[in-house]
Symmetry: C2
Subunit: 310 residues, 2 copies
C-alpha cells in the first residue's frame, strides 16, 4: 500500500469537570489527510484546504511534527518519505481539537503505511508532540479521544496512562462554535495556578460522579456531575453569550453544558437525539439573534476515533 | 418492636486519591448499639463498652446527636424516647470512622423502631450531624459507606449527593492501626488550604481512574490510581513507619496502599484474600519489630453496611 486516506474526528476536551484529563470524540466533523509514500526520506505537505494560515513547512505543521516523532522512535528504519494533503474541517482556534485531529490522522496514516508497528493507544504519545508544537504543552486530552474514539481519561502523564471509559450508547452532543477568536494562550493565562482545596474537592467529586455516571448509564448523575468550578467560571468571561447559550441548552433538556476545550465552542450532552437537535437550534438562535455568526453541530459520540477511509 | 440491636461497620475514608469524597466499608469490625424504646420522650445512654472516655451525655455523644437530628426532622411526632447501650469496636482516633459507625448504627436503629420513614441513603444527612459534633464538619465520607456498605462517593455536599459505586466482588483490604494518637485536628491543620492546579489535576485524574477501575473490575487501574498527592505526602509525616508499612504492603502484592481517613491507620487493597493476609502479617512485622503495638484487620469489602442483627 502506497497511499492512504485517514479521517480523525474533532473532540471535546475537559468535559466540564474533567479539566485537562477528560475528552470525547464527535461523529460529524473531523480532518482528513491523504498520505502518499515517496521514494526518498523526508516529509512534505503539498496542500492544505479548509483552513487558511496553517504552515506547510513540515517542521512547523503539527501533522508532520507528530509523524516525525513517530519516525524518530523507529531510529530512522524507514527509508522512504511521505507527502501529505490536509483537508481541514475542524477550525483552528475553535476549541474542538483542531491540531489534535490533524496530528491523530497523520500518525494513524503513517503507522498504517509502515506496517502498523504501534497500537492506536501507543500512537497517542506521538500525536502529543503535535500538541506540544501547537500550544507549548504535550496535552493528550484531545489526541487520545481523536485516536481512540469514545470518552477517554488521561489518568496520568508520567507515565502516560490513557483510560478508555465506558459510556452509554445513547448519548448525543450539541456544539456551537461562535465565530469569535479566543486565543488558547489567553484562555490558559486566565486560569489561576493555585486553587482552594475546597474547590479541588468539589471538582474531583464531580469527576468521580461523571466517570461513574458514564459507566452506569445514569443520565441524571452525568448531568449533575457536568459542573466545572475551576475553568468555566473564568473562561466563560471570554465567550460572549456563554450564559445565555448554557441556559438555552438546559431549558431544552440538556444533561449539562460547558465549554469545549479552552473555547469558544460550547457543548451540551443529551440523552435523546431530538433534544440534541433542539439544543442545536437554541444555540443558533442565541447567537444569530445577537448578530454573531455561529456554526452548530449535532452528533453521536464517535465510538471509533481515527480511521482509514475509502 | 420495642428493642433492636444494630451493627454498623468501620470504614476507610479518602481511599488514596478520593480525599474527602470516597470511602468504603469493612467487614470484620464495627460498632454495635442496642436501642430500647422508653415511655417518655428523651434520649439516654446507659452503657458504653469497648472504648474509654466517650461521653454518656446525650447532648455530647455522636450517636444521640445523630438520633436527635433524625427526630427533629419529624417535628417531634415521636412521643416516646430511646435508651442506648453502645458496644464500641472501632477505636476513637483510629482513622477508621469510629464516630461514623456509632452515628450510622444509631440512626439506622431508631429509624427501624419508628417505622422506617427514611431510606438508608436519606439517613446519611442525620448521621452527618454526629460527624459535625465529632470533628466540627458534617463529613459524609465515613457515614455514607458505614450506612450503605460498599464504595461510596460524596459527589456533592450542597445538595447532598451520595453515589454508590460499582466495584468488583473480589477485593480485600488489609488494615493496620498502630497504637499511637494522631488528633484529627492536627491532621486537618497540616493540610494546605490552597493547592497547585497541577496537583489538583493529578488528583482528579486518579479519582477518575479509581472510579473507572472499580467499575470495570480493572485491578491494575485500581492500583495505579491509588495515589494521593494532596494529603498523604503531609499526613504520612504524623504516622511512624508509614513508608516502611506501605513498602511492605506493595512488596507483598498490594494493588495500592495509603492512609485510612486522617490516620494513623493504613489500608492496602488486594485482589486475593491470601495476598491480603500476607500484607496483614507484613504490617504486623513492621510495627512489632519496632516495639510499636499495632492491631491488624483483614477483610472483604462489606457490601451491606449498617444492619439490624439478631
Amino acid at each position: 500500500m502506497d497511499q492512504i486516506n485517514v479521517f480523525a474526528p474533532a473532540t471535546v476536551a475537559n468535559v466540564g469537570c474533567g479539566f485537562d484529563v477528560m475528552g470525547f470524540a464527535i461523529e460529524s466533523i473531523g480532518d482528513e489527510i491523504s498520505i502518499k509514500k515517496t521514494g526518498k526520506p523526508g516529509l512534505k505537505i503539498t496542500e492544505i484546504t479548509g483552513c487558511e494560515g496553517l504552515p506547510t513547512d513540515p517542521e512547523k505543521n503539527v501533522a508532520t511534527i507528530a509523524i516525525q516523532a513517530l519516525l524518530d522512535s523507529l531510529n530512522n528504519k524507514i527509508d522512504y518519505g511521505f507527502e501529505l494533503k490536509l483537508s481541514k474541517n475542524v477550525m483552528a482556534g475553535s476549541g474542538l481539537g483542531s491540531s489534535a485531529s490533524s496530528s491523530a490522522a497523520a500518525v494513524l496514516g503513517v503507522n498504517e503505511l509502515i506496517g502498523k508497528p504501534y497500537s492506536k493507544k501507543e500512537l497517542v504519545q506521538f500525536a502529543m508532540e503535535g500538541e506540544r508544537a501547537a500550544s507549548g504543552l504535550p496535552h493528550a486530552d484531545n489526541v487520545a479521544p481523536s485516536l481512540l474514539g469514545g470518552f477517554t481519561l488521561v489518568r496520568s502523564y508520567n507515565p502516560l496512562d490513557i483510560i478508555e471509559l465506558d459510556y452509554p450508547k445513547e448519548l448525543y452532543v450539541s456544539i456551537v462554535h461562535p465565530q469569535i477568536e479566543v486565543k488558547t494562550s489567553d484562555s490558559k493565562k486566565i486560569l489561576k495556578r493555585e486553587i482552594t482545596l475546597k474547590d479541588a474537592i468539589t471538582q474531583w467529586g464531580n469527576v468521580g460522579g461523571l466517570v461513574s455516571g458514564l459507566a452506569k448509564g445514569d443520565y441524571g448523575l452525568i448531568g449533575r456531575s457536568l459542573e466545572d468550578v475551576i475553568a468555566e467560571p473564568v473562561r466563560s468571561m471570554l465567550i460572549p453569550l456563554f450564559h445565555e447559550a448554557k441556559e438555552s441548552a438546559l431549558n431544552e433538556g440538556a444533561l449539562g453544558c460547558s465549554i469545549s476545550g479552552s473555547g469558544p465552542s460550547i457543548f451540551a450532552l443529551s440523552k435523546y437525539k431530538n433534544t440534541a437537535k433542539n439544543i442545536g437550534e437554541a444555540f443558533k438562535n442565541v447567537y444569530h439573534s445577537n448578530e454573531i455568526e455561529a456554526n452548530v453541530y449535532v452528533s453521536n459520540i464517535n465510538p471509533i476515533g481515527a480511521e482509514i477511509i475509502k
